[in-house]
Subunit: 203 residues, 2 copies
């Protein structure tokens, strides 16, 4: 019998380009060290209300840098990147859709999260409307009517609120945010450090 | 005759722990790729006035993470780190002292900047007062009275203002901030990416 290692918690907001970039690397890093990753979409808007911060992309100077930097990071990683025309995304429906599916099929919920991130940041689609989210879900075999109903269920709405509250209680203030055995790491540019932490057991 | 490569511009604020961490790596990275680094202390307070942001360490959640993260980064790098009791540092005198020396001896100015960062973030000393800055400068053979006079010179005060204004005009909104042939990189955690940029010529 082998000891099972705890999953890595990955908190993100679909509106965050750095969350997208982090999402494309964290599973591979985790797998190389015998870990899985639990994807947890949250609403950074609720976090910013608490901290009084604004989204990076709306800060003077930093917003322009973010556009340049995220595109440069995507080129380095060799991943698709397309700055959405509608920004920032309202991620409520997309996030609820993931939690609705998660209560039935965690693997499919993950696949939907990947598809949402790809459609929004890889292709620049706006995914605020339930119809747009359902259209991204359809190729995965997810029924449109079931999804449109699912994202309205009180239990699903509660789950998103609770995940966001738990994230704040754990100190999450941005995305992507990773926890490795309770150790917090913030930022897509910390994935290499997360890997060194996993490889060495920490320092 | 070999083509001289342009120096890397390194903007930082002595009050920034990430600036300290970045300062300990950038010269080595630059040297491996035939570059030098121009150290340019600036006043992030002036930047924050423009952007409406607060120093990271004063933001809810993020401030606590910063304390944990900077100490963890210092342990990984194997460098001294001691969170100062007096925070944030008012870096005006320390920054002026560097520019005062720079007009006479650029190498000695660099050595003073290194000593100031070490005293403040490596040992936790407060360096707001001119006397404290002079005490850090003394072991480098820098005359106390000359320094106390130098940091009051209008040309020196102007230089610090101009360097800060130029930084803002170039899009600097935090520290450390590096420019490699005009390409902007923000953050101590981007030094590896700066090295890849230097090694490959960019992407």
């Amino acid at each position: 019998m082998t000891m099972e290692k705890a999953p890595i918690d990955f908190y993100f907001d679909f509106a965050s380009p750095y969350g997208y970039l982090g999402s494309l690397r964290i599973d591979g890093v985790a797998a190389r060290h015998g870990r899985t990753v639990t994807w947890r979409p949250i609403l950074l808007g609720a976090v910013f209300k608490l901290t009084g911060m604004k989204p990076n992309m709306h800060q003077p100077l930093r917003g322009e840098y973010l556009r340049h930097d995220t595109a440069r990071c995507a080129r380095e990683l060799g991943v698709p990147y397309s700055f959405p025309e509608v920004m920032p995304l309202n991620p409520v429906t997309a996030s609820r859709a993931v939690y609705w599916l998660d209560s039935q099929d965690a693997g499919l919920a993950r696949a939907l999260a990947v598809a949402i991130y790809h459609a929004h940041w890889g292709e620049g689609q706006d995914l605020e409307s339930p119809e747009a989210v359902a259209a991204v879900a359809a190729p995965l075999g997810i029924d449109r009517a079931a999804l449109l109903d699912g994202v309205q269920q009180p239990a699903v709405k509660n789950r998103l609120r609770e995940e966001t509250d738990t994230a704040i209680a754990r100190g999450v203030f941005g995305a992507p945010f990773f926890f490795v055995d309770g150790e917090p790491f913030w930022g897509a540019d910390r994935v290499d450090q997360v890997e060194r932490w996993l490889a060495t057991g920490g320092w």
